[in-house]
């Protein structure tokens, strides 16, 4: 089974590396929060204008000097007048051989006396300096030679930016483009929505149940969590003092025993068994000390069944349970409870907890080499210490 597990992990890891090497980093989604809904009640053809030799800056001169994403770079009627001899007094005027000037040409449904539908173009909540970018316009806005009315789809996505700004994949650089609030965290709450990572790649998706299952996203290399979230949000929950009701719903104090015995979910991700669990169990009368009515000596009041921890044969059930999920045991028992029988000190039962072949195992040697204090809790005699002695065990 262990071999199968290791093999599965190797296969999946290999897929990961292969996937990365083939990764297509194109992102085609335009965030409705970064680019709020526009209203463009206009008729316009970039294709026709470009075909006639117009340059981008002819109509968008401010784009070469703009330093803020808030700047409105859409040409006004005045800019159009450079070529289109618009006469508001003659809204239906047609001049043969000249660029069209009738109001309906650009404003569909125009009718005299009726207010013209307004262009609504909310600025994106971004920081952007057009003047600092020397690349051709098409690099970010695409080829407009086949585009009539430019919409949000002609605005760059985050992937467009990251094609050059590779730092943008690092959370420390998110605020280079996104608006930060006091303290340096990104502003995520806007009138038109909340800024949440939109794409479906690892580390960015805030899908359903994300609050309960985000371990993989949080531990991945280059996770961008801290760009928006203060670290106090993490420790307030993981090292918390208020029960998170979404994770430990309702009567969890009663029902948690099932999950704790299983060891799933991993209680130790947030709780230290030898302080948090032991302290509470002791106080509630379930531990080995405190005001408990349980008594291991009295069979009528024993928490565990007879023969649970037998030194003279019998079922000795606790051994298997301890090997299987020791963290469950350690939520009530301290080391001293185990030492009562398992210590190698003279006078005690000297029940060895070690499996066969322990002294020749790599684990024994590593533990002994790393911290012999642990061994000294049970073994005192020099002859019993160390894993390199030849005595059979």
């Amino acid at each position: 089974m262990t071999r199968a597990v290791v093999l599965s992990m190797i296969v999946i890891a290999a897929l990961g590396v292969a996937g990365a090497s083939l990764a297509d980093r194109d992102r085609t989604a335009w965030s409705p929060v970064v680019y709020p809904l526009q209203r463009l009640p206009l008729v316009f053809s970039h294709a026709k204008h470009l075909a006639r030799g117009a340059g981008c800056a002819d109509c968008h001169p401010a784009a070469t000097t703009s330093r803020s994403a808030v700047d409105n770079l859409i040409p006004t009627e005045a800019a159009c007048r450079a070529c289109h001899a618009i006469d508001r007094a003659q809204p239906a005027l047609v001049v043969l051989g000249a660029p069209p000037v009738a109001c309906r040409t650009c404003h569909p449904g125009y009718a005299p006396g009726v207010p013209v539908a307004q262009v609504y173009l909310p600025p994106p909540p971004l920081k952007f300096d057009h003047s600092a970018h020397r690349a051709p316009c098409a690099t970010c806005h695409g080829d407009l030679r086949a585009v009539d009315l430019a919409t949000t789809e002609q605005l760059p996505t985050m992937a467009t930016c990251l094609a050059c700004h590779r730092d943008g994949g690092d959370e420390r650089h998110c605020a280079d483009c996104h608006v930060a609030k006091r303290g340096g965290l990104l502003e995520t709450q806007f009138e038109h929505g909340a800024l949440v990572p939109a794409h479906d790649g690892l580390g960015d998706a805030h899908g359903a149940d994300f609050k309960n299952r985000h371990a993989q996203e949080a531990r991945q290399v280059g996770a961008t969590c801290a760009a928006c979230h203060d670290r106090s949000e993490c420790v307030a929950c993981h090292q918390g003092v208020v029960k998170p009701l979404e994770f430990h719903p309702a009567n969890y104090l009663l029902t948690h025993a099932v999950e704790a015995r299983r060891g799933k979910p991993d209680c130790t991700a947030c709780h230290r068994t030898q302080s948090f669990c032991v302290g509470c169990h002791e106080r509630e009368g379930i531990g080995t000390r405190g005001d408990t009515q349980y008594n291991a000596v009295d069979p009528a009041r024993a928490f565990h069944p007879p023969g649970w921890a037998s030194t003279s044969g019998g079922r000795n059930l606790h051994a298997g349970e301890a090997r299987r999920n020791l963290t469950s045991c350690t939520s009530c028992h301290r080391e001293t409870d185990c030492l009562a029988c398992h210590s190698a000190q003279p006078g005690g039962p000297r029940a060895s907890p070690h499996p066969a072949g322990w002294r020749s195992s790599a684990r024994c040697k590593a533990l002994d080499r790393g911290n012999r204090r642990m061994c000294l809790r049970c073994h005192i005699a020099q002859s019993e210490l160390g894993c390199d002695w030849s005595a059979a065990r």
Binding site: G16, G222, G290, H342
Partner: protein
């Protein structure tokens, strides 16, 4: 009168001599939480007794940004911040329980007087007037052409399976020629005994109570373990345990770590890390030999074999993740593994694939877990059997969110008998108009540990932007499987709970959360829990 004049002159001089004050941009979030709830004190005879918990918790998260306005010029010019930036981040917490859970007294069988619960159970000290700094550090960013970041103070370090505090520093350096960053941490591990420390950062496996020392006998091997400080005068402090001392848990634990990680690569990430934490061995307990026989230390020294120091953790970990785009679908595989050099084994590993297409995500994964403990803990000798989890999860995002998952846990056993546990859960979250949302969840699991089946229904109402109300009803049937670990079979029961909560956003960034929970089951009486939190700098959820 003369004294007043002198004072006035001194104040005036100080005011004139004071440098120009700078106001720096800062962000803070302060939460004041009051909780009142009950815990059962289990009785074999007679009805259960309820212990009251009345907790007051005050937190303060603080960020000060660009101290010295070093990046102000670029910021005002709408340019990305570069160059040295100095900042501060911290999170401070006061937690105090003044209910009888901590302040009550306990009658012990062999002691004639009732003792403070805190003296009998020192672990309760975590809940009594604890003042904790969970992190607090100065950050110097943008050094060396924006490649070096340094944090100094109480920093956080994480290997992917847990966060610990470190009193010291951390540095990250981006190598100039390759997309790799080097990280390093060094300092002393935060312990419960550290200034403003907390037990939650301690390595697990050794208790803060029942510490004993080995007292040598007249001949080697004839000594015994005895409680430390058993003869000292009891000071009867109400805030700390008076009876027990654990000097090995008070020594400092130096900790160092290094890591190599990919940087500035999208669609792929990999990391290799190493961390080692150790501590010196407690020698004499106190400056004076208090015993008639040689008192040479905390550990058996009959043959002089106590080491001068021991390793508490030594781990090596690696992780890799990637992302592959195949048409409209995305495949995101990942794998993580941690090897404990102290135990000479892999103690954590997982791998999975996240397959996404549009709003749909499917994720099969496998996880491996081998319990390991603090290097000082004898639990390391007892923990032998690992577990393997197989999991399949599905999510549908969007306005109507759906999720479902199934899992199977295999408990390996050296004799081949491998019990299993497994289960599944599913839920749907559906909006109704602009103001209402409903969520329904169902759960079933069985196998090792017991069987549970149940579900919950939740209704959320937002009548106004500044007010949100929610109610939830949960019912769960439980059939515990103690596997013969308890004297009497645990009874089956059905528990139901009703939760009512509300959030009122008083003004921009200020909110009040309240919650009332009532639990009912066939075994016990009604239980109540009430929570109220005043949330300053409240962040509305999306």
């Amino acid at each position: 009168m003369l004294r007043a004049w002198v004072a006035a002159v001194v104040v005036a001089v100080l005011a004139l001599a004071a440098p120009v004050a700078h106001a720096y941009e800062f962000w803070l979030r302060m939460q004041t939480t009051g909780q009142a709830y009950q815990l059962r004190d289990y009785r074999l005879v007679g009805p259960d007794v309820f212990l009251g918990r009345r907790r007051y918790t005050q937190t303060l998260a603080l960020r000060i940004w660009d101290v010295g306005d070093l990046a102000a010029a670029r910021r005002e010019a709408h340019l990305p911040e570069r160059g040295l930036r100095i900042g501060w981040q911290s999170y401070l917490r006061i937690d105090h329980d003044f209910g009888d859970y901590t302040s009550g007294q306990i009658k012990l069988p062999a002691v004639s007087v009732r003792r403070d619960a805190l003296d009998v159970i020192p672990e309760l000290g975590d809940s009594v007037a604890s003042l904790e700094l969970l992190y607090g550090y100065v950050e110097l960013a943008g050094l060396v052409d924006d490649r070096l970041t340094i944090q100094i103070g109480r920093v956080l370090t994480d290997d992917g399976w847990g966060t610990r505090g470190l009193d010291g520093g951390a540095a990250r350096f981006e190598l100039p020629s390759v997309p790799v960053a080097v990280t390093a941490t060094a300092g002393f591990a935060v312990r419960a005994s550290s200034p403003l420390g907390l037990a939650a950062y301690e390595l697990d496996g050794t208790s803060g109570a029942a510490c004993q020392e080995y007292v040598e006998g007249p001949a080697p091997g004839t000594g015994s373990w005895q409680l430390i400080d058993r003869n000292r005068v009891i000071t009867n402090s109400r805030l700390t345990s008076d009876y027990e001392s654990c000097p090995q848990r008070d020594v400092r634990q130096p900790s160092v770590g290094v890591g190599l990680a990919t940087s500035r690569i999208r669609g792929f990430g990999a990391e290799l890390g190493y961390r080692r934490t150790w501590s010196s061995t407690v020698g004499l307990i106190g400056p004076v030999d208090r015993f008639a026989y040689p008192d040479v230390g905390l550990y058996p020294n009959d043959a002089g074999q106590a080491p001068s120091s021991g390793v508490d953790e030594e781990r090596l970990w690696a992780r890799v993740h990637g992302e592959l785009r195949a048409g409209a679908a995305t495949i995101a595989p990942y794998a993580d593994v941690r090897y404990s050099l102290l135990h000479a084994l892999v103690d954590r590993a997982d791998a999975g694939l996240r397959l996404s297409r549009g709003d749909h995500t499917l994720e099969p994964s496998i996880e491996y877990f081998y319990p390991t403990f603090d290097g000082d803990s004898i639990f390391n000798a007892f923990s032998i059997d690992p577990t393997t989890d197989l999991r399949l999860g599905y999510q549908r995002s969007g306005a109507v969110a759906i999720r479902a998952s199934g899992w199977l846990r295999i408990y390996h056993h050296e004799d081949g008998a491998a019990p299993v546990a497994g289960g599944g859960d599913a839920g749907i979250d559906h909006p109704f108009g602009a103001a209402w949302r409903a969520q329904v969840d169902a759960l079933w699991d069985a196998g090792y540990g017991g069987r549970r089946i149940g579900g919950s229904a939740q209704l959320r109402w937002r009548p106004a932007p500044e007010l949100a109300v929610q109610g939830r009803v949960i019912t769960l049937g439980v059939a515990p499987d103690d596997g013969g670990t308890a004297t009497s079979a645990r009874p089956r029961y059905v528990t139901s709970s009703t939760v009512l909560g509300a959030t009122w956003q008083v003004s921009d960034g200020v909110a009040l959360h309240t919650l009332l929970e009532v639990d009912d089951d066939a075994i016990h009486d009604l239980q109540y829990r009430a929570i109220a939190t005043f949330d300053f700098a409240f962040i509305p959820e999306p």
